[in-house]
């Protein structure tokens, strides 16, 4: 289709506008915004699609803004073999006026005009392509829906295969097939709900049929079961009857058995009694025989005992004699021994006496020495205790005496002294006390100070001496004190002289020697014994001697020496030992003789006792036998035994008969059979009860369910299943056919599309290389014919990832390429209308795009609506129409 011109009146903001378009190549309609550029494209669609009677929103939107007239459009166009002018007004005074100029002039108005127009368009115009080739301002840039265009498809098909075209007819058919397919499938390709439901319904019915059939079979099975049960019950009753009969029989047998058992018990008892009686009789016969035997044997025993007793008598007399002889010998030996012992004792006493005499003398000597020593010792020690003048002290006294002498000399030298010489006996008193002086005696006394002496009652002399030097006096005093002390220490009288002291010392030395001698004597005498012991020894010996002598006289007749006494004693000892031996031998002999005698005696006593017993036994046995015979004679016993034996044989026979009779009945099996039969009767009865119950149950079930019409129900269900299954099968068959057809059609269309996408892609790339250079290429989706990606300088970018400008350029080029392909075939196709595009494209690129526009539009119609004509300056020979703000024509 090509548009020659379009004329608008009272259309939106346009009062009157008419534009003529170039049939081939680019027409640029340029004008500022709001002058109606977009309106021109809209009006073209409106006049072709909407009848004048339409009051749709697209029509109402076309109302003029400046008056209330109806919008009016007139278009002149060529499509297929037709050239026509169509004129429409809507809303107010609606009108349609179609004038077909070629190939045959015709003129139609009103509704018919619109319908004729639609018919012509349907015949010649690919309306999908017509719409796809519009590129509207303000609409989101997107790729044209070229994939659904039959014209393009047909063109591409032809380009690709050169064969028969798939045009409008095929597309319509495809749509019909799709509609048919959608009767059975969802758009997603799944069976529609009705089919699924029908299938489920059939399955459910199948299940119901199965269930109904099962019910029926169950019922039939139940009937069979009833028959079997009834048969079994009949059998059971017969069995039970037979069982009862057998049971009665077996019970009778059992009773007989019991009788025979009793008979057997009795036979057993009789047999036992007979057996006991026979045993008893036999025992008594045996006892009698034993009695007789006992009498005989006791007689024999008594005789034997008598013989034995007689036999031992002489031996016992000899033994008694032997004892007497031995006893005499022993008496003699014992007397001899007593005598020998007496003599030995005497000899021993004499020997002791001799020895004690010697001992007493020895002990007495030692005792005397010891006593003498001890007296000497006591004397010496007494002296020593009184005389302490040992050599040391003597030396000290000697020294002190010398000191006094010296000091006296010194003093005397220095002091006066008074010499008193007695001419008669006189007592001198004073000074150093009273002193009696015998004539010729004198004493001198130093005089110090004053010395008063009274001479008897004759005179008192007072002598006053000079005063000696004090130190001298003191020295003398000291020496005298020293001397006095030493004397006191030595135990000597204070007036002792040195000579006396010397004498005392001599005496002391001698005492010490005496002591030593006495000590030695004592020691030698005592040796290891004490004095008392010595005294005791002596006393002991003295006592023995005194005792002996008292017994034997003061001068006994005893051997003179100890040696002799000892010899005598030893002889006595030997004699006593011999006597002892003799006594022992005699004793032994006596003991032996006694033992022999005792043994013989005891044996004799035993035999006598045995003989007594034997005689007693013999008597008792005889008595017993006699008594027994008095009670029952031996012959009676024998005949009783005979009777009992015969009776036992009879009893044993009857017992055997009873046993045989019982065994003949086979009691074990009778009982087993009886028990078994009873158990069987119980079991059968129980089973019969169960069967009767079950039969009643089954019968009830059958009679209730048998009239429910299960067969009718099954038949109805089966009929329904049959119908629905057939319907389903028909549907499925149709669905399978529709599916096969649709799938094959789609597959083949896709295959065709894949084949013909090549020329489309080549056309887009030819235009693209003008704009972007030789490295430009694109991938095209074969089903939608949309550009999937662009490759430039070897770099591939998906369409959606491209910049807005690049996407817009590709959209425009795809439309141009499509228009070129379609127009190339038969002059059909549709105009490309580009409304205010390429606003994002930079100036440098615009020139190249212009070249592409020109190349693409060589044999097709391109209309560009723009407010910026400079964008399309690059299109070399475009026809430019300037729109001005509208003014009434």
């Amino acid at each position: 289709m090509k548009v020659h011109r379009i004329h608008l009146r009272n259309y939106k903001g346009v009062e009157d506008l008419e534009v003529e378009l170039a049939l081939d190549g680019v027409t640029i309609i340029e004008g500022p915004n709001e002058v109606g550029k977009t309106t021109i494209a809209e009006a073209l669609s409106l006049v072709l699609e909407q009848p004048d009677s339409s009051s749709r929103s697209v029509v109402r939107d076309a109302r003029p803004v400046h008056n209330d007239a109806g919008p009016w459009v007139e278009v002149e166009l060529s499509t297929g073999p037709y050239r026509l002018v169509v004129e429409k007004r809507w809303l107010r005074s609606p009108m349609t006026h179609l004038r077909v100029l070629e190939p045959r002039a015709e003129e139609v108005t009103g509704r018919q005009g619109h319908e004729r127009l639609r018919a012509i368009l349907a015949e010649t115009l690919d309306e999908q392509l017509f719409r796809a080739l519009h590129h509207y301002q303000g609409v989101e840039l997107q790729q044209a829906a070229l994939g659904s265009s039959p014209s393009l498809a047909a063109a591409l098909d032809a380009a690709a295969t050169g064969q028969a075209v798939a045009g409008q007819k095929e597309a319509s058919l495809l749509e019909l097939v799709r509609e048919e397919w959608l009767r059975y499938f969802t758009p997603g390709g799944k069976p529609i709900a009705e089919r699924t439901a029908a299938s489920k319904q059939v399955q459910a019915l199948e299940q119901e049929v199965l269930a109904a059939r099962a019910q029926l079979e169950e019922l039939e099975g139940l009937a069979e079961r009833h028959r079997d049960l009834a048969a079994r019950l009949g059998q059971l009753r017969e069995e039970l009857e037979r069982c009862d009969e057998a049971l009665a029989e077996e019970r009778a047998r059992s009773e007989l058995l019991q009788d025979r058992r009793l008979a057997l018990l009795e036979a057993e008892k009789a047999h036992a009694t007979a057996s006991t009686e026979k045993e008893d009789a036999r025992r008594r016969v045996q006892e009698r025989a034993a009695l007789r035997e006992e009498v005989t044997s006791t007689e024999r025993a008594a005789e034997e005992a008598e013989r034995e007793t007689e036999k031992d008598r002489p031996a016992l007399g000899a033994a008694r004699e032997a004892v007497r002889a031995a006893s005499e010998r022993q008496g003699r030996a014992r007397s001899a021994l007593v005598e020998a012992a007496q003599q030995e004792k005497q000899a021993r006493g004499v020997e002791e006496y001799r020895r004690r005499l010697i001992s007493r003398d020895l002990w007495s000597e030692r005792l005397a020495n010891a006593r003498a020593g001890r007296a000497g010792l006591e004397e010496a020690r007494r002296v020593l205790a009184a005389n302490l003048m040992d050599e040391e002290r003597l030396a000290a006294i000697e020294e002190a005496s010398l000191a006094i002498t010296e000091a006296g000399a010194h003093l005397a030298a220095s002091t006066g002294s008074l010499l008193v010489e007695a001419l008669a006996d006189v007592v001198v008193t004073g000074g150093a006390g009273a002193r009696t002086l015998r004539p010729g005696e004198s004493f001198e006394q130093a005089v110090e100070g004053e010395l008063v002496l009274e001479v008897g009652e004759l005179a008192r002399l007072t002598v006053r001496g000079g005063a000696p030097e004090r130190s001298l006096r003191e020295a003398l005093g000291e020496a005298e004190r020293r001397f006095a002390d030493l004397l006191r220490e030595a135990g000597l009288p204070e007036d002792s002289t040195v000579v006396q002291c010397r004498l005392a010392a001599q005496q002391r030395r001698e005492a010490i020697a005496s002591e030593q001698r006495a000590e030695k004597l004592v020691k030698d005498s005592l040796r290891d014994l004490s004095l008392e012991r010595l005294e005791a020894e002596v006393a002991d010996d003295e006592a023995f001697i005194a005792s002996f002598e008292e017994e034997h006289g003061a001068s006994p007749d005893v051997p003179e020496t100890l040696e002799a006494a000892r010899s005598l004693r030893e002889q006595a000892e030997a004699r006593r030992a011999a006597a002892e031996e003799e006594a022992d031998a005699a004793e032994a002999e006596l003991a032996e003789a006694r033992a022999r005698h005792d043994a013989l005696y005891k044996a004799g006593a035993d035999r006598a006792a045995a003989l007594g017993v034997a005689r007693a036994l013999q008597e008792r046995a005889s008595d017993t036998l006699r008594l027994a015979r008095e009670l029952e004679a031996d012959e009676a016993l024998d005949s009783a035994l005979e009777r009992c034996s015969v009776a036992l044989v009879g009893a044993a026979r009857r017992l055997a008969e009873a046993q045989a009779a019982l065994a003949a009945l086979d009691p074990g099996s009778v009982e087993a059979r009886l028990e078994n039969l009873e158990a069987r009767a119980r079991r059968l009865t129980a089973e019969r009860g169960e069967l009767e119950t079950e039969i009643a149950t089954v019968r009830t079930t059958l009679s209730v369910r048998g009239e429910e019409g299960l067969q009718d129900r099954l038949d109805a269900l089966e009929s329904r299943l049959e119908r629905e299954a057939r319907a389903l099968e028909r549907t499925e068959r149709a669905a399978a056919a529709a599916n096969l057809l649709w799938r094959r059609l789609v597959a083949n269309r896709e295959a065709a599309q894949r084949a013909y996408v090549a020329p489309f892609r080549a056309a887009v790339e030819r235009l693209g290389r003008i704009v972007y250079g030789p490295s430009f290429s694109v991938e095209v989706d074969h089903s939608t014919l949309a550009v999937a990606s662009r490759t430039l300088q070897g770099r591939t970018v998906a369409f959606d990832q491209l910049s807005t400008g690049a996407r817009e350029q590709l959209c425009v080029m795809a439309r141009l390429a499509c228009a070129g392909i379609v127009a190339g075939r038969d002059g059909g196709g549709a105009p490309v209308i580009i409304d205010d595009a390429l606003g994002w494209t930079d100036r440098g690129r615009l020139d190249r795009i212009g070249a592409a526009f020109r190349a693409a539009s060589r044999n097709c119609q391109v209309v560009v609506l723009t407010c910026d004509p400079s964008r399309y300056d690059g299109i070399g020979d475009a026809v430019v129409r300037h729109l001005r703000p509208s003014a009434p024509a």
Binding site: L216, L219, S703, L741, A752
Partner: protein, 378 residues
């Protein structure tokens, strides 16, 4: 000389799945009508009694309404009717229809169920009837032989009523329940019975050479293979002679027909055959088609069948789809004027439809669909 009706296999309560509910209802009614017709004929022919040799009922488990209606039909008889339990309706020890309340409560006085093997005297007539009845669905002996073995020679005319296959005709020789023909003929020769009335076979059939052993067939056709259904037998019997006459009682037809198709003419012939069928509302047809036809012929056939489906009691078409191949002719394809991918698809489907596999039928259907949608044949 006694006269009686010999019928069998009434199959009351039988359903045929291929019948629509409406047709099924009419078919069931026709069965009861046949019984009434027999009663009417019995009266018209002055019969002394009637025997029904087994399968009076289709099943022991029937709805009480069905039983009630059957008994209502039986009430039309003016003579005694002896009913024999058969393999479909055996006299079980429990759960039999015969013992059900719905049967016992409504059973007309002249209807006698043969419940054991003993001869029953027919009231008002010098004749006896002996039933070899079924007590289980699976007997393990020849029931007829068993009933015969217990009989003494008859003093009056005696009819034995039995049910089952005769051993000489059975395809299942191992079946222990088969009726031994020789023993039956021997009983007739011995004078123990004078006529053996059999049921089970739905076609009228004379058995053996005595002329006294017959299957009466069913009074209303039940299947396509039945040779002579829709009959009852009128028997005139004495020890000396026996005459058997066929009586028409049923008025339904089951037709199985095979058509060979090669073109539109043959399809039209199918239409004519169907058109000429008498009494279509009581006619059941099972048609099968063999051959190869064009898409147009196939569409025409479907149309013809659809036209008659509504008229007939039932029209079954054999499911064996491979028997009839549908292939578009080149002319048909050319007429469609289809190009591009559609033409390619058409060629593909043609190839598929011509193949000898399971997909061929679907491909043929797809071709037919394409043909229809593309406006072919119009």
């Amino acid at each position: 000389m006694v006269r009686f009706i010999h019928s069998a296999d009434w199959q009351i309560g039988m359903s045929r799945h291929f019948l629509s509910p409406e047709a099924q209802s009419r078919y069931s009614e026709a069965r009861l009508e046949a019984i009434r017709r027999i009663a009417e004929l019995a009266a018209r022919e002055s019969c002394d009694f009637a025997v029904v040799a087994g399968d009076v009922f289709e099943s022991n488990q029937l709805d009480r309404q069905v039983v009630a209606r059957a008994l209502d039909a039986l009430a039309a008889f003016e003579v005694p009717v002896f009913l024999l339990p058969g393999n479909h309706d055996p006299l079980l020890s429990a759960g039999s229809l015969w013992d059900s309340q719905s049967f016992l409560a409504r059973c007309p006085a002249n209807v006698v169920v043969l419940r054991d093997d003993r001869p029953l005297a027919v009231p008002g007539c010098p004749a006896e009837v002996v039933g070899a009845l079924w007590r289980t669905k699976r007997p393990v002996e020849d029931l007829v032989a068993r009933a015969l073995s217990a009989l003494e020679p008859a003093r009056t005319v005696r009819v034995l009523v039995g049910h089952g296959s005769i051993d000489e005709q059975s395809p299942d020789p191992g079946n222990p329940a088969l009726i031994n023909l020789r023993s039956a003929e021997q009983a007739i020769a011995d004078g123990r019975v004078h006529y053996v009335a059999l049921g089970d076979r739905h076609s009228v059939t004379e058995v053996g050479s005595t002329g006294r052993i017959w299957y009466s067939g069913t009074p209303l056709v039940t299947d396509y293979d039945e040779v002579e259904p829709n009959r009852a037998l009128l028997v005139s019997l004495s020890p000396e002679g026996c005459a058997v006459e066929r009586l028409d009682v049923g008025d339904w037809a089951f037709r199985r027909q095979r058509f060979e198709l090669s073109g539109l003419d043959d399809v039209e012939e199918v239409g004519r055959w169907l058109e000429e069928l008498p009494d279509k509302r009581r006619c059941v047809v099972k048609a099968s088609f063999v051959g190869t036809v064009s898409l147009a012929a196939r569409l025409r056939l479907d149309k013809v069948l659809d036209e008659h489906r509504d008229l007939l009691a039932a029209l079954e078409v054999s499911d064996r789809r491979t028997d009839l191949a549908v292939l578009p002719s080149d002319e048909e394809i050319g007429d469609l004027g289809l190009g591009g991918f559609v033409a390619a698809t058409l060629e593909e489907l043609k190839d598929l439809a011509g193949a000898q596999d399971e997909g061929a039928a679907t491909a043929q259907d797809a071709l037919a669909l394409l043909f229809r949608l593309a406006g072919g044949g119009s």
